[in-house]
């Protein structure tokens, strides 16, 4: 009857925190399944839920699908499992097969410490977990002389999962990125600068379940197209982790010129940032985002002192998330390399023209000064005009 459907290769997806979320569990699982489907759309995958696990059938190369799943937040680990009926002899056959495949990946004749680990969700199965472990061990040991039982530090673990619909046997385990499925925590707008930090901040936000939209403040006539190209390329890279992504490119030359003319030099950078946040807050309203995300780290540059962050946060009534607040630059760089944004981030393209940069930026900005200076020019008009001329792009990898 369903025999033909049951057997074959499945990707056995485990999720960590997702499983712990009480009543929200269904919601989280649905989100994770949706994200897995999207990540594997090109692989024509069939994604199903099975109590506490997600099972994926792919017609093509499972290795490619596993590779894709390493970028799906919420996944703790993935195994390539062989599905089989629940006859003991079938379990033995599959266990021997996966063990042989794994041993083939460890060439030479060194001994391989191993164990069998069974989980029995279907309690009607006649043997309990321990009994299955012993039974399979007894079958595998004589067939593969390199195997030595080692329950404490196995190098090879043959996993068996006996479930309602079928049993699954596997011996590999690829770590997922952890975190929460993109989308479950809501939406946020990332202020992308083109540097090293903001893409990492975006990635960390996605890791905690945020779906992010991007905004670039672009003074085209002063920094050229390269800065925009770079930002778009970064968004393309980051869309690997959340699917197709949107970026708003906000023209910023007029704002910068106005501030350049009207403000005391040391305050310029803070005032640019305040204008960015005012505009970004409006974009959030438009696109249903509930927070801003920036790449700020405390004290990294002059605009990122605590006093200045306070001045910036005063600009708009919206939470500003700063995932890198406590990161050292080297930690951020290491993460950027892992994510794959580093090489693009260091591409030469100025994000702020030197004519706008103050020689000696203030390090202890005062909120009242910021407000006073802003009272001397038409903030609302600048915000509205920037929003009106904003370009939107949808990008994917």
């Amino acid at each position: 009857m369903t025999q033909g459907l049951v057997t074959g290769t499945r990707l056995f997806v485990r999720y960590a925190e997702v499983g712990l979320k009480g009543r929200n569990r269904f919601f989280f699982e649905q989100a994770l399944i949706r994200n897995i489907r999207q990540a594997l759309a090109a692989e024509h995958a069939v994604v199903e839920r099975s109590w506490g696990r997600i099972l994926v059938r792919v017609p093509g190369d499972p290795a490619r699908a596993v590779e894709r799943l390493r970028d799906v937040f919420g996944i703790a680990s993935v195994s390539t499992a062989q599905a089989t009926d629940k006859e003991l002899v079938s379990l033995e056959t599959e266990a021997a097969r996966v063990a042989a495949a794994e041993l083939a990946r460890r060439p030479g004749d060194t001994l391989v410490p191993f164990r069998v680990e069974t989980s029995r969700a279907d309690k009607r199965f006649p043997l309990n977990s321990m009994e299955v472990n012993r039974r399979l061990g007894a079958v595998l040991l004589p067939r593969f002389p390199r195997l030595r039982v080692n329950l404490e530090e196995p190098d090879l673990t043959v996993g068996v999962d006996i479930r309602e619909e079928a049993a699954y046997v596997y011996a590999d385990r690829t770590a997922g990125p952890g975190g929460l499925p993109v989308g479950v925590s809501g939406r946020a707008l990332v202020l992308l600068s083109g540097g090293i930090d903001s893409p990492v901040a975006a990635w960390l936000s996605m890791k905690r379940g945020l779906r992010v939209r991007f905004a670039l403040f672009h003074s085209a006539a002063f920094v050229g197209e390269a800065a925009k190209e770079k930002a778009m390329d970064l968004v393309r890279i980051l869309s690997r982790f959340q699917g197709p992504s949107r970026i708003d490119v906000v023209p910023f030359a007029d704002v910068q010129t106005e501030i350049r003319k009207a403000s005391p030099e040391p305050y310029r950078t803070i005032l640019y940032r305040r204008m960015m946040h005012k505009i970004a807050e409006r974009l959030c309203g438009r696109h249903r985002c509930s927070a801003l995300v920036t790449g700020d780290a405390i004290g990294q540059v002059a605009s990122q002192t605590l006093a200045n962050l306070r001045c910036i946060d005063d600009a708009a009534p919206i939470p500003v998330l700063r995932p890198l607040l406590t990161y050292d630059k080297l930690e951020t760089i290491a993460l950027a390399r892992r994510i794959g944004t580093f090489e693009t981030s260091i591409r030469p393209a100025e994000d702020c023209c030197t004519v706008f940069q103050p020689e000696f930026p203030v390090t202890r900005g005062r909120v009242d000064v910021c407000r006073e200076v802003e009272a001397t020019f038409d903030v609302d008009r600048l915000v509205v005009e920037a929003l009106k001329a904003t370009e939107r792009f949808a990008l994917e990898t």
């Binding site: 006539a221 002063f222 050229g224 030469p348 023209c353 030197t354 004519v355 706008f356």
Partner: protein, 387 residues
């Protein structure tokens, strides 16, 4: 790009449609391998020979002395590395000018790692080389000398024939290489008249295709090859010949030589009008290089008090494309070694733009630039000075 005012012809040029047509025909019809013996191969061989002859004529060299490469960089590398390695038993000393192209300076750096010693000849504030001062650096054990005919950033033309005389008398064993990439097609170039042993040229600077150039030799001396293979180009540069590129190069060279005199006069007039017009509106404007000895195409200008990058982008926003220094530097944050060699300080180097005209530059283009540059400069100047 349609409608753009392209004033960056020293970086590269638009391929002439007649050249593109010749390339297309070679790609789809004369696609044989010149080494093949069947009729297609024979035809390809004939086209290759014809191209070689055209290049030889254009540079006053023997056809047997034209060796096609992937471009100027490879030709400079082949000359410097190849000749120095071939003659190292005579000495380990190399002399180059301070304003050579990175492909020459890079090759020299590689030679230093092989034990060679380098003397860098200075230039004056206009980018000029004094042949006598240059001669002082030459030694009996000097084995390779390289000087560019026209500089790519400021356009200065070096007194090659004079330098050649010093090389012959003071360093009789040395090979004298001349980088003619920016000069070829813009001023008459004869390897005999220059007294050089080798000359590098590139197609894409003369409205030809990218990816093809040549090393032209003056006599019987041969550099040592850098790549090894099936014997093409007398084994000096083996690998199946880039025939479409070579045919395009020859066509581009022929077109450039045919009209050289009239075109040079036209370009010089355009460039000088640009200079005069800008100088009138921008009193502080400084022209770099030597107006007395300069290729007709290049105008290097320093806009004091304004970051060149910003001015470049302001012009770009108006559809006018120029370079900050050479295109090769534009993406690096390091200072142009050429402008530094001319004695410009950091602020001036960072305020320098290069305008370069070419075959498709019109009077209209110059008028557009004359209209836009002063305004952009004034705007930035006002922003930049308000501290």
């Amino acid at each position: 790009m349609e409608g753009a005012v392209y004033l960056d012809n020293a970086a590269t040029t638009r391929c002439d449609p007649r050249v593109a047509e010749a390339i297309g025909r070679t790609l789809s019809e004369d696609y044989g391998n010149p080494s093949s013996v069947h009729p297609l191969g024979v035809r390809a061989g004939r086209a290759l020979r014809a191209a070689r002859e055209t290049l030889a004529r254009a540079l006053d060299a023997g056809p047997a002395n034209v060796f096609f490469t992937s471009g100027g960089t490879e030709a400079n590398n082949l000359a410097l590395l190849g000749f120095a390695r071939a003659t190292r038993r005579h000495g380990l000393h190399v002399v180059v000018s301070a304003i050579e192209h990175p492909s020459t300076l890079g090759a020299v750096k590689a030679l230093e790692e092989e034990g060679f010693e380098t003397a860098i000849a200075p230039v004056d504030e206009k980018g000029r080389i004094d042949p006598d001062a240059f001669g002082e650096l030459l030694r009996p054990d000097t084995v390779a000398v390289a000087v560019m005919l026209a500089n790519n950033e400021v356009g200065a033309v070096a007194p090659i024939a004079e330098i050649a005389k010093r090389v012959r008398s003071r360093s009789p064993r040395a090979v004298f290489h001349v980088d003619a990439v920016q000069a070829f097609g813009k001023i008459p170039v004869s390897i005999r008249a220059l007294g050089a042993d080798s000359l590098s040229v590139s197609a894409h600077k003369i409205h030809g295709p990218k990816g093809v150039g040549a090393l032209v030799l003056g006599g019987r001396r041969r550099p040592r090859a850098l790549v090894f293979g099936g014997g093409q180009e007398e084994n000096l540069r083996p690998g199946t010949e880039n025939l479409p590129g070579i045919v395009g190069f020859a066509r581009a060279a022929a077109l450039a030589i045919e009209t050289l005199e009239a075109e040079a006069a036209r370009l010089r007039a355009l460039r000088d009008r640009l200079w005069a017009g800008l100088a009138k509106h921008i009193p502080d404007l400084r022209r770099n290089g030597d107006p007395e000895a300069c290729v007709p195409t290049i105008l290097s200008l320093t806009f004091p008090g304004v970051p060149a990058e910003a001015l470049l982008h302001q012009l770009e926003a108006k559809g006018i494309y120029v370079s900050a220094g050479a295109a090769c530097h534009a993406k690096k944050s390091s200072l142009s070694h050429v402008l530094v060699a001319l004695g410009l300080d950091r602020a001036h180097v960072n305020s320098t733009l290069r305008f370069s005209v070419g075959r498709f530059t019109t009077e209209e283009d110059v008028a557009v630039a004359l209209d836009a540059v002063p305004a952009a400069y004034e705007g930035l100047r006002a922003l930049a000075s308000k501290r």
